[in-house]
Symmetry: C2
Amino acid sequence: MVQDKPLLMREVLGESLRELRTSESLTLREVSSSARVSLGYLSEIERGQKEASSELLNAICGALGVPLSSVLRKVSDKIDGQDVVTQLPRPRQSVAA
Amino acid sequence: MVQDKPLLMREVLGESLRELRTSESLTLREVSSSARVSLGYLSEIERGQKEASSELLNAICGALGVPLSSVLRKVSDKIDGQDVVTQLPRPRQSVAA
């Protein structure tokens, strides 16, 4: 049973990439140019609308100057606060007790 | 400058998913069935040959009973030991600084 709106890796990843970019005061144009990805595609990735391939993810991390491991840790930390196991039934507290 | 063989997210992710599956003594067949993905596709994901979509990744995590955040932390830890920034040169710290 899939929950209403499970967190998606690409959404949290995109948000994280955008935060890292803006914290470095880099524009979409600068990062898209360094990473050799179109500005529109990069924007879609940041908005969680497109999956980034592993190669592209490396290129974006390189353009941001951030190791992939740091990006993934950031994504993991963001997800950690929220329930993400969507397939296995999880015990419901109270509702239909 | 791209290094000879930069680590790819899908390869480390696939390896991590396989390790989690075998540590739970689950077969490819069992996980593919629970996650509703073909056995061949799941096997390709584990071997790092295919990118898993975010939806599929959630389904596989659900089938393994492991939160996505744990999987990503495992991937991050595996990558962390190795330099993954392939585009920008990073300053080398001397070991005994």
